[in-house]
Symmetry: C2
Subunit: 218 residues, 2 copies
């Protein structure tokens, strides 16, 4: 679940909800290309993404003109254009804080490759983890976070530590120069206004679904 902290921290001209939808466009357009589909109608694309065709036109209108009336969208060109808008045409280094089973799952998540992201630093407070090599990255102590993140010039951090340590780890990442945080810990982080936080909150997602379920379940 993504929290509304973004709108507090960043005040872009384009609504954040639109920006958050763009990765779904990229993913869908890439899947279409992999299926050999070079052109897609706005109705088809809307169906795949789960919005209306009007919404797609509104979303894209923030960035210019895409597609031709009655011709649909070129899957390759639209994907390239949106990837460029999202700055996915570069590689971004990511610092991962926490290498328990969650951190392990994140580091080995197949969705990361091929992608624009590379886990370039891993930190853990467990002494038994220190010095281990994960795909060429050496796990370092939590105490090294600020220095190492600054040395490598990393801008994006992922917090996969227990709730009790999350705020300290976030502070260290921000001290090192991180401007974007993905937070898996079930706490609301305090961060400076220039730091973007997106929360990945499976419990929150579950809690927001039971509202719609019927009946009582013991």
């Amino acid at each position: 679940m993504i929290e509304p902290t973004v709108s507090r921290n960043f005040e872009p001209d384009i609504p954040d909800i639109v920006i958050r939808r763009l990765p779904i466009y990229v993913r869908t357009l890439r899947a279409l290309q992999e299926s050999g589909i070079a052109n897609v109608s706005s109705d088809q694309l809307a169906e795949l993404i789960g919005v209306t065709a009007a919404q797609i036109r509104r979303d894209l209108s923030y960035f210019g003109k895409f597609g031709k009336q009655g011709k649909g969208y070129d899957t390759f060109h639209l994907e390239q254009a949106i990837s460029q808008i999202l700055k996915l045409d570069h590689k971004w280094d990511v610092a991962l804080a926490g290498f328990g089973s969650l951190g392990h799952a994140i580091a080995h998540y197949r969705g990361f490759e091929p992608s624009s992201f590379r886990i370039a630093a891993i930190f853990d407070r467990n002494p038994e983890q220190l010095g281990r090599q994960i795909d060429g990255v050496t796990i370092m102590s939590d105490r090294c976070i600020a220095g190492e993140v600054a040395r490598l010039g990393i801008q994006i951090g992922i917090i996969a530590v227990p709730a009790a340590n999350a705020q300290d780890v976030a502070a260290a990442l921000v001290e090192g120069g991180i401007h974007a945080l993905i937070n898996y810990a079930p706490v609301v982080l305090k961060t400076p206004p220039n730091v973007l936080v997106r929360e990945i909150d499976p419990i929150g997602a579950l809690q927001s679904m039971t509202y719609y379920l019927e009946g009582e379940h013991e």
Copy 2:
């Protein structure tokens, strides 16, 4: 990242964005109670949650009258009321499909306890995993999904399998009677309109943050 599929599947009177914010209220109010704080002003609560006080009043107005003018909110009563709205005053059984490192992280996620959710069934296609006991739950084959979910009357599923198997697993869960799905696999699932899907998409979250980052990072 939560996808907009929800609005397609469900058309509630109350906007889904409000429902998705309520778990953050619950979490924040519980944290305040743990800190011994019995009363919170709407400004303080807004600051903690990352929205405006006006937004909080609007959100809560959907459900009735909470708090007293100039008196703020009683943290215990407001949390109880919202938990009840979200039906978190019952235990909900959850089926977990996929017991790789992600599934392992989910099953052992501390944020689940104390919570309203209990992993009541675990499925994996790897024969080496079958029969293992995880907190009293025996890992079963993917082929048992529909039957076992139906037998246990489970309504909520979590998909933590690789992208290539996600659609098949989703279909089996839905066949078994699942009405709410959390999907960690980086694919857009096809599900019947009466099934609620929330996607947990760390790559999408990352991709929607680089838009805001400055400079090019090689």
